[in-house]
């Protein structure tokens, strides 16, 4: 547990490397939740870099939730669905994001359809 603290805090500088070691540390400490959260973040980073090339926008550092929201704002529903499935966003929360995006955009016609 203690090791991870220090490693995590460095994450802004040398993201991937320290994240990997944090993942390892959580594994050693048998902290499964911590382990899977770090592992997921690593996955997210890789995915975001891929996406950045596609949509030409800075995504690294955004959370899963915000990434998905950004995609919905860009109306890239296919990619958003992919995020939802890959990162297991619960049904309920996914619809919250959708509704929020539509409301923000003032798209009342789409909102009506709910």
């Amino acid at each position: 547990g203690f090791v991870t603290e220090s490693l995590d805090e460095k994450k802004t500088h040398t993201r991937d490397a320290s994240l990997t070691s944090a993942t390892e540390a959580y594994k050693k400490a048998r902290n499964e939740v911590g382990y899977s959260i770090c592992e997921e973040t690593l996955r997210l980073l890789k995915y975001q870099r891929l996406l950045e090339d596609k949509i030409n926008e800075n995504l690294v550092g955004k959370s899963v939730h915000d990434t998905c929201k950004r995609l919905l704002e860009l109306k890239d529903y296919k990619e958003a669905e992919k995020v939802r499935n890959n990162f297991k966003i619960p049904e309920k929360r996914y619809w919250w994001i959708r509704i929020q995006c539509l409301a923000d955009a003032g798209d009342w016609i789409e909102l009506e359809k709910f």
């Binding site: 547990g1 991870t4 603290e5 995590d8 805090e9 994450k11 939740v33 911590g34 899977s36 959260i37 770090c38 997921e40 973040t41 550092g61 955004k62 959370s63 899963v64 939730h65 915000d66 990162f87 966003i89 619960p90 309920k92 929360r93 919250w96 994001i97 929020q100």
Partner: protein, 595 residues
Amino acid sequence: MSHLQGGKVDISQIQIAARNSLINLLEKRPGSKAIVWDNSLAGPVGLVAQYVVLKDYEVIKMYPLRSTPLPTTNVKHIIFITRPKLAFMDLIAQNVHHDSKTWTGPKKQYHLFFVPRKSLLCRKRLEHSGMFGSLSSIEEFKCDFFPFDSDLISMELPEVYRDYYLENDPTSLYQVAQAIILLQKIYGPIPRVWGRGMAAKQVWDLITRLQRENLNKDLKEHQSSCIDRLLIIDRSVDLISPLATQLTYEGLIDEIFGVNNTTANFPADKFLSTEERSTQSLAEDKKQVILNSGDKLFSELRDKNFNAVGAFLSKQAKLITSQLEDRHDKTVQEMKLFVQRLPSMLANKEALARHTAIAECIKEETDSYEFLDCLQAEQEFLNCIEVDRISPFIEDLIAQKKPLIKVLRLICLQCIASSGLKPKVLEYYKREIVQVYGLKALLALTNLEKAGLLKTQSSTRQYTVLRKALHLTMEDTSEINPTDISYVHSVYAPLSIRLTEQLLKSNGWKQLQDVLGLLPGPTVDECLTSDMLNDSTTSNVVLVFFIGGCTFAEISALRFLSQQEELNVEFIIATTKLINGDTFLKSIISTEEDL
């Protein structure tokens, strides 16, 4: 400073002692001065010595301590006044270095005053930076307490709980011990002491040791004491009370607008009449109001449940109007009396307008669905309803990405109410929070776990038992004419104050044995006077010391108790910091860099 006097214990003595300490230090350095403050001190020190006072001692400039170079000032002395923190030493070294290099006029002197005590570590740091020699003097500005009101003093140390329970650093406990000794020096030794919790015990042990060491120096055993009993409450004993939303007038002001050093800022437009609103420019969009018992109306309002405030204000309004209109058919004599009273009536009218405006600002917030829903969720937890499941309300807050601190506050409350969350529930919250708020939130969660605010369920249900045994949740109590301390949160009676109440009623821990086993940490129970009779008869001033902070609602609850005849006590409240759920959690989840 009349608002500090009035009780049996004269708090202004603390103020005078602190002010003299500062003035003494300033007088020793004749000539013009500039003071550079560490930001956390500039506000509180104003409670001890206002700027006008400092001006008399040739202080002509004041600056906050920053990493940017000091503005060029032509003064003889530059005085840094800071807490003994390492980060500040680096800033001071930078500042002194830059200022002495660029300055071409007559030679300046640099001084450093530590509040309240020097630290060897800081000294070493300065030596290391090479600037130690440039400082003409290093002194102690002995100011342990900042006087807030006639019954309230604060050390203004926001990180005591964090330091001890998260970082395992007992330094601030030493400071607390020193502060209590100081109180005993001013007001006489306190014969009866109780306390509960790890930090409370450690502080008491430190006090006993420090006093033994100093025994020869100031032996004042026979000095009569103004304070009869001391109760040390360690915040870790009651983590629930700061998490519950405060519903008293002063408590709500703190929750919504924040009270710092008895001062709060409100949106200015609420304080203007309709005409003023259209004519005045919006140059100042904040209205600053000083909140202490110097304001008579406020001292009557502060401890009331907010639901009783509206009625009280309108009653006052009617009273003032009738007073002002009552000037017809009068003899000359009566008219003269009326004119004499006029200024005070007008002042009352102004105070009334001010508090009506504040109450409107609060009402705007407390009427919102967001506030009410949150309160409802909170009260369900406190009543142990659905505490074992994932709360759909919290789920929705996360999904809408509401402020993280609000979410964490509710989760922590649920955790305590259920005496630890089910592992599955905790895991779900963790995943959801990190997915929405990002990985940084994981650090916040880790800190909360280390500090004991988040945990998984253990076999004993402490809260369930405590709730029953101490009647922590009360149904059908009046908010307007309260009969029980639970009015401060409308449903929930602060555990800390319930303990105090029980302790004073039975004059000891004995009757509380069943309950005590459920609270963390050891007990302190000392009787320092050989004269047992003296202990139970006349004595009735109780000093309640909160290690790790206390809330305004807790203070209101204590004031309520002091009005109950059966207890016959007067309280002096000392705390390391005034806190609410948000500020308390923030002090724990912030990372080193934010501090």
